[in-house]
Symmetry: C2
Subunit: 144 residues, 2 copies
């Protein structure tokens, strides 16, 4: 309607974009100890849950394509947290699995996640509600 609609401060898209960056920055010093970046931490979350996954499965969980994941997974392999092994049954797919070293970092990951949860300053229930709101927002945007 008026000029206010154009103002940066009234754009939800920017508020979400800025909050996402704020999360990445908040995680950074904690993840540095672990030796991974934030997107690498997301991959670790998937693997701590599933233990083994194909590249496609990880991409589906995180919404990332192979152009992003291929080099990222090679870096995680170099760090020693995962192994990449071409499947025997179907040689098109690569099986990504935790190494003992990667599995051992699970507890550290849990601590880091909890620490950031605190840093949001949201109570546990309002945090759960916000989680649901963001999922709905994402879903609506992907529909349209």
């Amino acid at each position: 309607m008026n000029d206010n609609m154009l103002a940066l401060e009234n754009h939800l898209c920017f508020a979400v974009y800025a909050a996402s960056h704020a999360f990445t920055k908040a995680y950074k010093p904690l993840l540095a100890e672990l030796g991974v970046t934030y997107p690498q931490y997301l991959v670790m979350l998937v693997l701590w849950e599933k233990r083994v996954a194909t590249v496609t499965e990880i991409g589906g969980a995180l919404g990332l394509d192979t152009g992003t994941l291929s080099p990222l997974l090679k870096r995680l392999e170099k760090t020693g947290f995962i192994r990449r092994e071409r499947s025997k049954e179907d040689e098109r797919q690569v099986s990504i699995q935790l190494t003992p070293s990667g599995l051992a970092k699970r507890e550290v990951g849990t601590r880091i996640g909890a620490a950031i949860g605190n840093a949001t300053g949201c109570g546990l229930d309002s945090l759960g509600q916000l989680l649901q709101t963001m999922k709905t927002l994402r879903h609506n945007l992907e529909e349209a």
Copy 2:
């Protein structure tokens, strides 16, 4: 506490990260017509508001550093929407200003913002409330 805390689906950080990507993807086809990327659109929002700004001012508004902005602004200059001119009074700073061509895209920008606002599927008031929540979240994360 239990395993659920480690699950990807319970991480607010990931929900925000995914929503931010969803915004970028939703904007992409609309911005392609305009000939800019999503971060470039954010810079244009700042300039549509202020008309002229230094690199530092734009960085402050968007939370981006010069390593990101320097090349981005050169691309916007090549597109023809802005001019970069070293200030006469203080030769350390570069004045970024809209060209007539860049100013003329203001109406298109307003339409695009409104279109995405609709795509969120949020009513105007719940959208305003969510905006405030995300600002608070960002602020809390930057404090901690």
